[in-house]
């Protein structure tokens, strides 16, 4: 037996005695070392530049420009008309995020029941059918695809056939979140206590009645909570999707940065933070209402 085979067997034995988690951590450690080498060994990673005085002077200049102290002009965030102009873009961004949630919400609402294993195999008192089985795999596959592709990539593809504006961005955000919300709610349905549905069935309830009175009342609060929680994430991402889909604050942000209008960039960042904080507060308030019931 060669030395190599001995090493392989030895490693195999060590691994068998490790729990899955420990093995995973070990593997992740290897990934960290290899990734470090892959990115930093070529020498063009820019790591050395971080410790140069020049880089930090540039950062200082950049921050001074953002605050508007470097130039004599009035910074954009002290001009009322700039605020009014950008408020329209902020409104557009907000509408885009809500439209995205509408697309994701309606899409997930219509499909999530199919994606629950216990619905299609009859554990909730329904009749198992070939159609339900096919739908289960179809919907789940759709969720995986729409979730795995990031919003920005969806947007890049969608602008190929939709005119720029709010809709392509909202569609991109909606597609991505449809997969996330759908999967999460389907998992909630899978973990439901089947008792109420089964007893509804034994009392002679039809499929739609089981759905209406057995599944929905338990699943809906979770569904709405996930939707509201995702809205907090979506409002952050709406700006990014705006980079390519030309809607709202995102486009303006990139343009102003390219034109070196630094104080306008600051103004947009202020709007951005205001909206993120606003949506966070609103969403957690609404989620409390859902929880309270």
């Amino acid at each position: 037996m060669s030395k190599f085979a001995l090493i392989v067997i030895a490693t195999n034995n060590t691994l068998r005695h490790m729990s899955f988690t420990k093995g995973s951590l070990f593997l992740f450690g290897i990934f960290i070392i290899v990734s470090w080498g892959f990115i930093f060994l070529p020498g063009d990673s820019g790591f050395v530049e971080l410790f140069r005085l020049e880089t930090w002077t540039n950062i200082k200049i950049f921050i001074l420009r953002l605050t508007g102290t470097e130039s004599d002009l009035t910074p954009a965030f002290f001009q009322v008309d700039r605020w009014i102009e950008t408020s329209k873009l902020a409104y557009q961004t907000l509408v885009m995020s809500i439209l995205a949630m509408a697309i994701a919400g309606i899409g997930a609402f219509l499909t999530m029941v199919w994606a629950a294993r216990n619905v299609s195999n009859g554990d909730l008192g329904g009749v198992p059918s070939r159609f339900g089985n096919v739908m289960y795999y179809l919907v789940r596959a759709n969720y995986i695809v729409s979730r795995a592709v990031p919003e920005l990539v969806w947007a890049m593809i969608i602008v190929f056939f939709l005119s720029p504006g709010i809709l392509p961005g909202a569609l991109a955000l909606g597609l991505h979140n449809l997969g996330i919300v759908g999967r999460l709610t389907a998992e909630v349905i899978e973990n439901l206590d089947p008792a109420s549905s089964v007893s509804l069935r034994s009392a002679g309830a039809s499929n739609s009645q089981i759905l209406m009175y057995g599944i929905m009342p338990q699943a809906m609060p979770h569904f709405i909570t996930y939707l509201l929680y995702r809205w907090e994430v979506v409002i952050r991402t709406t700006v990014v999707v705006g980079f390519v889909s030309a809607g709202g604050l995102g486009r303006e942000f990139i343009l102003r940065l390219n034109w070196f209008h630094y104080t306008d960039v600051t103004l947009i960042l202020i709007w951005y933070l205001l909206m993120v904080i606003g949506v966070d507060v609103l969403s957690s308030w609404l989620r409390k209402i859902v929880d309270a019931d």
């Binding site: 951590l25 990115i39 820019g46 795995a148 952050r236 019931d293």
Partner: protein, 265 residues
């Protein structure tokens, strides 16, 4: 027979409100205008037709594998930076280090919670765009852009987990006269480690998607290749790259689900 609930509970009012807001948002789009732009229909058709088959030539598969690997390495380094930043900040933000000291801990907690909130409020790509202007385009800029918002997310969760640990073991430790740091390492960390690990692995999956879109600022990887292929209208290549991305995400998802299951069991 009563089909519709007549009583308006707070719950139902909220649901009605959501439906109304959704409907309003649908009407805010100008549906009558040109939604599909000129040539959009044909490129949509072309996009779907190029799925059969995607570009599976050996040369392109090599390009796609290399891009997938690059995206993966950026995600790994991003999450490592996020942990190294987020863990200490989360520990400080939870306030457990100052429980017995005379320091007034409320301002420290508020400052660190605010810092974490600010870091995660800004999307990684916005950080990336800003960082490229500030320190120039380099892999390090991409990693920092990934690390900052993820540190904000992880730090907040770590802080919340640390605050919700059961008190009994902590009190027992502190009665033996253990220092604050010893209590942290022998009391708090072991208690929350499974939850921390499982959440961190869940976030790792998200960081892969985030690493893929860093291409927008010019970092190599899957997103960068997708952008190139889209610009050249080579949709069959786009499909191949998307399939690689989906495969990577599914694999990491399966891995992290498995870890979570074995940790929380």
């Amino acid at each position: 027979m009563k089909f519709w609930p007549v009583i308006l509970t707070r719950h139902r009012i909220l649901l009605l409100l959501l439906v109304l807001v959704f409907a309003w948002s649908l009407f805010s789009v100008n549906w009558s205008g040109s939604i599909i732009h000129t040539g959009g229909r044909s490129s949509f058709l072309k996009l779907w037709l190029s799925l059969f088959p995607p570009d599976l030539s050996l040369g392109f598969l090599l390009i796609a594998s290399k891009a997938t690997w690059t995206t993966f390495t950026f995600a790994v380094m991003g999450i490592v930076l996020a942990i190294t930043l987020g863990l200490p900040m989360g520990v400080i933000a939870s306030g457990i280090l100052f429980e017995r000291s005379s320091v007034n801990r409320v301002p420290i907690i508020i400052v660190f919670r605010g810092l974490l909130a600010g870091m995660r409020a800004v999307h990684e790509l916005v950080w990336a765009v800003v960082l490229v202007v500030a320190i120039g385009l380099s892999p390090v800029a991409g990693i920092i852009a990934l690390g900052i918002p993820y540190a904000g997310i992880l730090g907040r969760i770590y802080a919340e987990l640390l605050q919700s640990t059961p008190r009994a073991p902590i009190d027992a430790l502190s009665q033996t006269g253990a220092s604050q740091l010893k209590i942290l390492f022998y009391g708090y960390i072991p208690a929350v480690l499974p939850d921390m690990l499982s959440y961190t692995f869940y976030r790792f999956e998200c960081s892969i998607r985030a690493a893929a879109i860093l291409s927008f600022i010019g970092i190599q990887g899957l997103g960068y290749q997708i952008q190139l292929s889209l610009h050249d209208l080579l949709f069959d290549q786009v499909w191949t790259l998307l399939l690689f991305l989906i495969l990577l995400i599914v694999l990491v998802d399966l891995w992290s689900t498995r870890i979570r299951r074995s940790l929380l069991a």
